[in-house]
Symmetry: C2
Subunit: 218 residues, 2 copies
DNA sequence: TGCAGTAGACAGTATCGCTATCCGATAGCT
DNA sequence: AGCTATCGGATAGCGATACTGTCTACTGCA
């Protein structure tokens, strides 16, 4: 399979494919000669993964590089999760502002064990601070329910993981699951918000004001 | 308060403040003269909100513009959620690929009511497709638990909302809560993954391999 | 009177994810 | 053997985003 076939069967342009190879997220083709390479199904699959992560989960090329490195060199399970966690853009990871210690306390109040030292703690705390700045500090109950939901999701992630026996499969699930799980959850949250909103504030028989319709905004 | 004071008390550079004013997300100062304006506490608060949304939640300037418009002109509650939902970058919103009908079915299977027509449905479905492409389709149980967690979060959001009586407060909570709730949840999910991972695969007394440590990757 | 500070306009910068073009080589057809 | 489409590889450019820097004209205050 030549590069043009690879391009045709994945919908990714040839320059983009070359770019991915250059960036090291896609393996070069097997060189049949000085300027003749052939690509296989592995390339098709990898390319689909790359596009899925970039388009579907907003992962950067640098993040994809880390994830595929985790897939290629099989690594301990916990580390796979860790790599994906570091690679997936948790918005706000590099804000320069320190969270208030009060907010950190609130996060730690719903957190146990090793999680207390997780780098996401200050990120969550900073988000709580931003809430407070807007003038509406959030209740403990709200945060506790978020933590409960997060625990459900984390258990689902690990249960899914344990259904696979091959450590390579597990690493893949961990890496990709962290990235795509975020967006699945965000989507379901928005859907649930719409459902719950409709339940609590049934809209008149009218037509034009469902949350869905605002998507048209630029 | 002059622009330099505003800059000093928020940590935002003067050119950035001018930029925000230019982009319409921050009100100009009250003009005392042709080149003399004064700024108040409202400007400080708004600026902190802007930085919080941009740095903390990854919202774009265009998204911030929509959110602050929702805050300034008070609008119906459902629409506030809708605006925030449209403004907050749900990664993968504009991927060109259609989801498989099978994936859409799976999402709809855990969705009810008005949510079935929500624009996030195809986004979630596309994420499921990407999972499948990597070779690891996810179980129904996994998705069902995600949906359960999303419902918990959505109910928490609305409960929080209903604690405020002022519709303006409600709009603010809805808009900001959608944006920042995403990142609070993502953070808590990562923390919960670390906790759950430690519970299921206790690491040896060693030191260097907690998921947290991988954050150092570029 | 002098100068720090201001508003406003506009051009420049850095990063990201491509995309376009050029080059020399060559496979495959005639 | 000759021709041409395509190839790999390299390098430069593009468009969007979020600033940042510079310039100008002006003005309040010491």
């Amino acid at each position: 399979m030549r590069i043009s076939d690879l391009s045709r069967s994945t919908g990714v342009s040839i320059p983009s494919i070359k770019y991915y190879i250059r960036e090291g997220v896609l393996a070069p083709g097997d060189a049949d000669g000085p300027n003749r390479s052939s690509y296989g199904e592995a390339h098709v699959a990898r390319l689909r993964l790359i596009r899925g992560l970039i388009e579907g989960a907003g992962v950067t090329i640098a993040g994809v590089k880390q994830i595929v490195a985790a897939l290629d060199g099989s690594m301990p399970l916990n580390d796979s999760f860790g790599v994906a966690q570091a690679a997936v853009p948790l918005a706000g990871r590099d804000a320069p502002v320190d969270p208030s210690s009060d907010a950190v306390e609130r996060v730690l109040a719903v957190t146990e064990g090793i999680g207390r030292h997780h780098p996401a703690v200050p990120i969550a705390a900073r988000a709580l601070d931003t809430f407070a700045v807007v003038g509406e500090p959030l209740s403990e109950a709200w945060l506790a329910r978020y933590a409960e939901a997060a625990a459900i999701v984390a258990r689902a992630d690990f249960d899914e993981l344990e259904q696979r026996s091959d450590p390579v499969d597990q690493a893949r699930i961990a890496a990709v699951g962290t990235a795509l799980g975020d967006i699945v959850f965000q989507s379901l949250r928005r859907i649930a918000q719409a459902t719950e909103g409709e339940r609590r504030f049934p809209s008149p028989p009218a037509s034009s004001s469902s949350p869905a319709d605002t998507e048209t905004a630029s």
